[in-house]
């Protein structure tokens, strides 16, 4: 196993089911992920895409593993440079009245420009996701 480049963890006062839906359902993601949506049927082998509000594809990839409410593994590629591919894992774990969400991003290709693009982004997305699930309202994460 290659060493992941980034590992992010957040503890959310919510359930694994709600956390899973917040990642997979466009009606939720757009409320905390800067109006972006994740689109797929989330079945193993299916395609998934990360869209902006104009339905332009920002990230694309395949679903490698999908265990609803527990674990989701995706490939993550730039649609304009499919060779720049990496791998993202979402792990959801119930902990008493909390849910622990860990996002691991790794397996970047050498010279990947994606490393730079995502490194500041994940903490903002996860912090906004936590706020969204706990208060019903996400943060304005991409404002200039």
């Amino acid at each position: 196993m290659q060493k992941p480049k980034f590992v992010y963890t957040t503890y959310i006062r919510s359930t694994p089911k709600k956390t899973w839906d917040a990642i997979c359902k466009p009606e939720f993601t757009r409320q905390y992920w800067g109006e972006m949506t994740n689109v797929s049927d989330w079945k193993k082998g299916s395609k998934w895409e990360h869209h902006n509000p104009e339905h332009e594809v920002w990230v694309t990839g395949k679903v490698i593993e999908s265990i609803p409410t527990k674990r989701l593994v995706l490939t993550w590629a730039d649609p304009d440079d499919l060779a720049d591919k990496s791998r993202v894992t979402f792990e959801i774990e119930a902990m008493e009245d909390m849910t622990c969400l860990t996002v691991t991003h790794g397996s970047f290709t050498a010279g990947s420009t994606m490393v730079k693009k995502v490194s500041g982004g994940w903490p903002r997305v996860l912090s906004s996701l936590k706020t969204f699930l706990e208060t019903g309202k996400g943060l304005n994460i991409f404002c200039k």
């Binding site: 992941p4 980034f6 963890t9 957040t10 912090s127 943060l139």
Partner: protein, 111 residues
């Protein structure tokens, strides 16, 4: 919420633990042995500080086989940032911080 933030501030209120975070920021995913090489601390001290940082969720552990890798988790810091920094202030603050850094670097070079 308050207890979580208390743990973060407590963890940050120590020069050695900040040095540990600096090390992980420089090179993420280090083992205890690798961290000890770069720090002027005993293995026991590093272990103790890491536990406190893990408790505050500023450090997350990933097991790779028998190797325990430590990662800097900036999510709690993002929450502190989001709490007090307004959405329109970010760019001005970044500009100020870049200016300060630029001026100070210049000064160090001249001296």
């Amino acid at each position: 919420m308050f207890r979580e933030m208390d743990a973060v501030f407590k963890a940050l209120a120590d020069e050695s633990r900040r040095a540990l975070l600096d090390q992980l920021h420089k090179s993420n995913g280090q083992t205890l042995g690798e961290l000890c090489e770069h720090l002027d601390m005993t293995r026991q001290a590093v272990t103790k500080h890491l536990l406190l940082l893990e408790d505050a969720k500023l450090v997350v552990v990933v097991w790779r086989g028998r190797e325990k890798l430590h990662y800097l988790n900036p999510v709690p810091l993002q929450e502190i940032y989001g709490r007090w920094i307004g959405k329109y202030e970010r760019h001005r603050l970044q500009a100020l911080s870049d200016l300060k850094k630029g001026l100070e670097d210049n000064k160090t070079k001249k001296e």
